[in-house]
């Protein structure tokens, strides 16, 4: 009886509204936080930080941002990578124009720029829906990447056309640039991702979350019960693009170290979309599960057969990865549109009543 809810009575609405009304979920979260904040940093190798831990967190955050817009508010976007780019370039401009600025503050501020641009590109959503809106966001995708390439001011007119993350310190410690240590960068990412996840959980379970979900499920009914659709959609674009922009800043400043415009092209947008779909649209936890799978799968395909003494060349690994991810997308789109998060919920439901199925 791992998941016993018997005996856990709610005596107030506030306790029923808690994020984890069931005690075991709170314990599970405790374990995850302990792993993320203490155990992994103590044990992980440089390789694990660089290929798994840091990218998983950053991709989760980007998917979380997309999920606010697509999973919660029902507005499909194919331009996620471009908005990550806006965050990254905004951060770059801020730290080079104002070197005294605290890097963490710069990262959190860079989301404000992507939020503004997100709202501007969200305006068509007031008129068009679904497929047509997706095409409109694709236009944003092309336009912004073109801008990153053509507007020299954005990359300080350097000859490579790429942005290079400078050495940045916070309280005397290097947090970005070639001098920064991986573990420090991991903690910066973890702080930002935890903070924004907590904020998103609060937003999605309250008034704004219900407003978004109502807009997603039946927009005309939403309007007739008193929801201002324009506000609902534009706040979704703003919050989503903010999170995505911050993820973009982390992506470049805490992980890649440098970026060319085409880094923010369509393949990255699709990668984030796949994470959100496989993880589960309309779920918070799904973004983490999806990111673990998408980031972890190629690493696993590279290392596990090797450890078992089977040699697979890297081209085959790549093909295998694409085939597995492709089948998973098809599986989730057709069989389980709510993704891994829904599968977990089903397992949990079974555990609650285990061992008596009736």
């Amino acid at each position: 009886m791992l998941y016993r809810t018997a005996g856990q009575y709610k005596t107030s609405y506030a306790s029923d509204q808690a994020v984890f009304p069931v005690r075991q979920d709170a314990i599970l979260l405790g374990i995850i936080l302990l792993l993320a904040w203490v155990i992994f940093p103590l044990t992980a190798s440089e390789f694990t930080f660089q290929t798994l831990l840091i990218p998983i967190l950053i991709y989760s955050l980007a998917a979380l941002g997309l999920n606010v817009l697509t999973g919660y508010a029902g507005q499909l976007s194919l331009g996620t990578a471009a908005f990550m780019g806006v965050g990254a370039y905004a951060c770059y401009k801020m730290v080079t124009l104002m070197p005294w600025l605290n890097p963490l503050v710069a990262i959190l501020l860079s989301g404000a720029f992507s939020a503004g641009i997100g709202v501007a590109f969200g305006i068509p959503s007031l008129r068009i829906k679904g497929f047509y809106l997706a095409i409109a966001t694709l236009a944003a995708q092309f336009f912004l990447v073109w801008l990153f390439e053509k507007w020299g001011w954005l990359y300080n007119y350097n000859s490579s056309g790429a942005i290079q993350v400078p050495n940045l310190t916070m309280f005397g410690v290097y947090v970005a640039g070639p001098q920064a240590s991986t573990i420090v960068q991991y903690y910066v990412v973890l702080v930002v991702v935890s903070l924004l996840t907590w904020v998103t959980i609060n937003l999605t379970r309250g008034t704004l979350g219900r407003t978004w979900k109502a807009t997603r499920d039946m927009d005309f009914a939403a309007e007739l019960i008193g929801i201002n659709l324009m506000r609902s959609k534009l706040t979704a674009f703003a919050i989503s693009s903010y999170i995505v922009g911050v993820a973009g800043a982390l992506f470049v400043f805490m992980w890649r170290g440098a970026a060319e415009p085409n880094l923010f092209d369509i393949p990255l947008s699709f990668r984030i979309l796949f994470i959100a779909i496989i993880g589960g649209l309309g779920s918070i936890m799904g973004n983490y599960l999806g990111a673990i799978l998408i980031v972890g799968l190629p690493v696993m395909l590279n290392t596990v057969p090797e450890a078992l003494g089977i040699h697979i060349d890297s081209a085959t690994v790549e093909h295998l990865n694409i085939m597995i991810v492709g089948s998973l997308i098809i599986f989730f789109l057709i069989i389980e549109p709510h993704g891994l998060a829904r599968l977990w919920a089903l397992i949990r439901e079974k555990l609650v009543i285990w061992p008596f199925p009736h």
């Binding site: 107030s12 609405y13 506030a14 509204q17 904020v199 609060n202 937003l203 309250g206 008034t207 704004l208 219900r210 407003t211 979900k213 109502a214 997603r216 499920d217 039946m218 005309f220 009914a221 939403a222 309007e223 007739l224 019960i225 008193g226 929801i227 201002n228 659709l229 706040t235 309309g282």
Partner: protein
């Protein structure tokens, strides 16, 4: 029944107040189709006002005009003694007009409780910052409005399904949840578009009882569309009869029942 400016008292002793909403010479055209042709009627405080008529008579269109979903081509809507300027549906809702739909329009991806809570959105005013940290006004509001939502849930006897996703519910219960969502708004006027359509006899009886109880206990003014003549005659204080977009009768159930035009329309006399 005496019909004075100050209202009237019903046979069962309920006090009906003054006019709360008045439709004045409403005409609604869709291209060449005239869905509503120069119709006037009023709705009084505390009454159950029915709109009846054959399919395609323009009843739903009339509710859509009241809730601001359609803008009338001609005519005026008066609410609480003032002419209503052109308004978006969400603004009408915020003035205290709630409704249900002929084809259920629930939020399928949400639980029953969350659907009912969306009915409270017009009363929830916390800014985005308190919502982000789930503190202050946001937290307090959530509990206050949850209490009201739970009261409605108890009232409509749907406690047992409050955490169920609405997509899993049978049709009759969905209709009831939709009523709960509208009631949760504590509306001045409640518009019900065929609340009993597609229900079995037992479900219809339940729904009738709920409508009467809502009117009785909360004093909510109700305007409803219904097909079933028997039900309408039992429920309503006054009835508007529509046919081909025109008003062909208006009065108490007895008056309407004996009106020759109404009898013709319902017996399908060719026009």
């Amino acid at each position: 029944m005496t019909d004075q400016a100050e209202g009237y008292t019903t046979a069962d002793g309920r006090k009906i107040g003054g006019v709360v909403m008045e439709m004045k010479n409403i005409t609604l055209r869709f291209g060449g189709v005239v869905a509503i042709h120069n119709i006037s009627f009023d709705i009084r405080e505390g009454e159950i006002r029915a709109i009846i008529g054959p399919n395609g008579a323009g009843k739903s269109s009339m509710l859509n005009v009241i809730s601001g979903f359609y803008t009338p081509s001609e005519g005026e809507v008066w609410y609480k003694g003032a002419k209503r300027p052109p308004m978006k549906p969400y603004e009408v809702a915020r003035q205290g007009v709630a409704r249900t739909f002929q084809n259920i329009a629930l939020f399928e991806g949400m639980s029953v409780l969350d659907n009912v809570m969306t009915g409270r959105l017009t009363h929830m005013k916390a800014g985005i910052l308190p919502q982000m940290i789930w503190k202050g006004r946001a937290e307090a509001e959530e509990t206050e409005n949850r209490i009201i939502a739970e009261r409605v849930i108890d009232f409509l006897e749907i406690q047992h399904i409050r955490k169920t996703p609405v997509a899993r519910l049978p049709y009759g219960l969905k209709k009831r949840v939709e009523l709960a969502r509208a009631l949760a708004a504590e509306p001045t006027i409640l518009l019900l578009d065929e609340p009993m359509a597609g229900m079995n006899v037992e479900e219809k009886e339940d729904m009738c009882r709920f409508i009467l109880d809502v009117n009785d206990e909360f004093g909510t003014t109700i305007a409803l569309i219904e097909h079933d003549m028997g039900v309408v005659m039992d429920l309503s204080d006054r009835v508007v009869v529509m046919d081909y977009g025109k008003k062909i009768g208006d009065g108490s159930p007895d008056e309407v029942r004996n009106n020759q035009d109404v009898i013709d329309a319902y017996l399908g006399v060719q026009h």
